[in-house]
Structure formats: C-alpha cells, structure tokens
Amino acid sequence: MKSDLWVVFAVTAAFMGFLIGYGVPPVQEVGLLAMGHGGAAAVEEPADVEAAMEQQFEDLQNLMK
C-alpha cells in the first residue's frame, strides 16, 4: 500500500521527462544554451529570432490600435 506513492512520483516524473524532452531541444538547436554568453553571442540565429518576434509584437500592437 505504501509503495502507491511511487506511482505518483513515477507518473509525475514521466510527464516531466516528456515536457523537458519536448522543451529543451529547441533552445539547444538555436544555440541559446551557451553558458556565460547569455545565449545571444553563441550563434547568429537567436538575434534574428528576437528581431522577428519584436516585429511580430509591433505588428500585433498596430493591429490592436
């Protein structure tokens, strides 16, 4: 009966594992995981992604006005 609690931990760990596995690779792919560089200096792409996002927000704001 006591070992039931491990079911809770196992299910939680399984979901967490899936979410981490799903969420972390994209930051590795764009080179954001670069300790000490704040991500930005690692590769060229993040700056473009950032700029594209800023543009997207500006467009969105203009639409809302």
Partner: protein, 496 residues
Amino acid sequence: MQQQVTGVATADLVMDKAALEDAEKRKKRRWALGLLGFFAFTSIATFIYNEYYIYLSVYLWFGLIYGMCLQYGKFCFSSAFRDLFAIRVPRMLVGIVIATLLFGAVSAPITAAGLSTFHAAPVSSHAIIAGAIFGIGMVIAGGCASSSLYKTGEGNMNALIVILSLSLTQALFADVGGWTNNFVPEAWTQSALEKGLPASITVTDGWVDQYLAGYVWNKPAVTYADLLGMTNESVLGAFVGNLLVGILLPAALLLALVYALYWRKGYRKKQQKAGKDVSGLMGELAGYWSMIIANKRTATAGLILGIACALQMLVIQGLRVKFGFKNAGVMLERIGFDFGLSVQGTVFDPGYWYVTTQEAQWVGWTLQKMGIENLDNIYFGFVNGIPNPAINPADWMSFALIGGAAIIALYHNEFKFKKPTWETAMWSVIGGFFMGIGARLGLGCNVGAFFVRVANGDCSGWLFGLGMAGGAYLGVQFFNWWTERKLAKEMESCGL
C-alpha cells in the same frame, strides 16, 4: 470468565477500528490517484486536441510539483514569522531562507545561460510599504499567498476564503477609480499621461493605474549584477553579482542575526547541559550549523522547489522558441481564444512560479462577464489580460498546485475538511484584503515579490521581505493584544 469476554470484545473493537482506519486511508489514496489521473488525462487529451496545449501542461505539471513540495515542507511565510515573533522559534524562517538560497543556486546557471524568463521589478520604498501591508495581512489570515493554496489542497476552507478575498481585493483594487483619484499626487498623473498609453487605457482614472505609470515605472529595475556593473547573462554576473552578493551574503547575515537573537541561547544551554564545549568560534559555528539543518523538511522541499522553478523557466523558454512567440497571448489567439487579451495582445505568462496575478485574473474575467469593464486599466488591459481561466496558463499552475498539495496530503493522511467558524472566516477575509492590497502595491506576493525576486538577484526582493517582516511583527502584536483582550472579557463574564 467475564474478564476474558471483555478482553475479546476490546480486541475486536480495536481490530474494527484499525480496519476502518485502513479503509479510510485506502479511500484517500484512491482519491489521490484519481486526481493524478485527472491531470494526466487533461494533459494527454488537450495535447492530442492541439499541440499548443503542451504549453499549458508545462504550467500544470510544475504547479503540481510546487503543490507537493509546499505541502511536504509546510512552506508557510506566515507561520515562519509568527513562530519567530510569537514563540521565538526560527525553524520555518531558516528553512525558507535556505530554500531561497538553494533556488538562487539553481537559477544562477539558467540566468548565466541567458535562459531565464525572470524580469527584475522597479526598486524603491514602495516595496517595503507593500511588504508591510502584505505581512500584516498574512499573519491575520493565518497563511501567506502560497500556503493558502496548499492548505486549500489539505481541505482547509479558511485558506480558500483567504484566496477568494485576496483575489477579489486585487481585482477591485486594480480597477478602482472615481473618488480614489483624489488621493493621486498631480506628479503621478502627469507622469502617467506622458507614457503615451493606448487610448483604451483610461490612465487618469484609477489609483493603481497612476501609481504604476506615474510612479513605479519611473523607478529603476535593477539586479545586484547591474549594480556591480556586470551583465546578468554572464557567469560573473549571475554567480558573483546575483548569487553571492545578492543572496548568499545577505542570507548568511540574516541567519547570523536570527542565530544571535533566537537560537544561540537555547542551543548553548542544551549543549552545556549535555556537558559539551561550546566556547570559541567553533562552538558558535556548530550552533549556527545546527540551526541551519534544524528544518530539513522545509529545506528539502525548497531544494526541489528551486530545481523545479529553474527547470520551468528552461522548458517554457524552449517552447517559446519552438512555437515562435514570446507570450502565451499569441498562442491563445492562434488556437482561437482572443477574448481577454491585453491591448498588447499579451496575457500573464511569467514562465516561473507565481501566485497572485492569476488569482486576480479569474475574478477580473468573472467581473468582465458580469458586465463590469476591467480591460481599461493597466494591470489587466495593458499587461496581463483576463483570459478565460480554463485556458489561462498561470491558472492551470495554481489549480494543479492545489491538486498536488491534495495528493500528498491524502497520501500522508493529512487531508481533512476544515469548516470555518464565523470568527476565522472574518480573519480570513480581512487578512486576504490586506494581502491583496500589498500584493498589488508590491507587484507580487511572498512568492513573486520575495522568493522569486531574491533568488534571481532582484534588489527589490529583500526590500519586500524587510517590509513583510515588519508587517508580520505588527500583525503578531495585534493578535497578542486581541487574544489578551478576548480572554480578559471572557474571564470578566465568568466573574473571575
């Protein structure tokens, strides 16, 4: 013969009682597994329906972990200060400080890697005042913002009243205008107007609006790394500036103060009684260490909380990169939910553990549905939005937090439905009210304005904590006075 019969009957009774207790425990565990199954089903079903829902599931599962940790560690800021000031027991406070330190240690590499979703808050005396109001409230309410959530998961209905009062107060306070405008300094109004906010935000009508745009936004948002001229997203800035200078040193000093005032005397007395030598620096260090490890349960919960908080930032950042947005408002629009977005198209999406804003949001959403305009203020209309609670990321986190706490409470046989009395309900409402005001003035609660900020090197975190300690002290004094007065009245009515 009669004695033998009585003995057998008693044994049967004991066995029946044990069997009943066992059945009750099994029932509670089934409920716990049912809750877990519900969260698992929600995640899987929504993911199958639309991939974007995984973003909400991240909030859900991290919320579940926060709830489990809070319940296990009995992580309560109100208890921490009440125990310290009322009965001079520093265990919980020390546990919380250690937990904050551990969270900081886990956050530092995330910040250094540039993956933190944390943004520093404006620094000024407002944080101290807000913390003081919040501190008074949490002592009166008998629980802080986070512990009210986990206690609700334990079946404590007083805690639920605190949450309701806190939520309602925030939503109303953020929107109140009219006569409150008379208390706004002219300089705030002018400064707020100069910000050029969209026309849909009635910035000159609303005390909080003018407080935010005319005062708080003018204050610098700095971290300890910034103060030392370092970049947050660097090893030096994250580890030396934020972790060492911003967390480790102040925490060590605070613990030394607590040791000197509340722990040293008792520890030395106990050791001397046992014939142990406590003289010299080594004796003091041993005493200091004994205080730090006195509350392993809270510290362990804090370590897991810290790891979870940092991991949440990492995963959320990853999903933002994957889906190509910076805020969940864009995602909600893509999946067809455009009601309740702010004028910027955003919703509250902190990417880390937060408590109070999502509570205000669901009240804001309800009021909006009842015909009370809420999107013309800065808090909802310009920044956080009021999305449907069913698809609000941070609401998924709070809901799962209550569920996570319930699961652990059910397993440890600590779940019990506690009905409030009129008196306790009154204190819960009053306490929740003060906490709501304090949370909006300080832009967060004991979690968002203290725990997360301190751990991320934000200079306003310790200021809010300082105010919270002062407020809690006043709250304890008030309660002592109230209890003594009540006792005196009762004794008088008994003719004593």
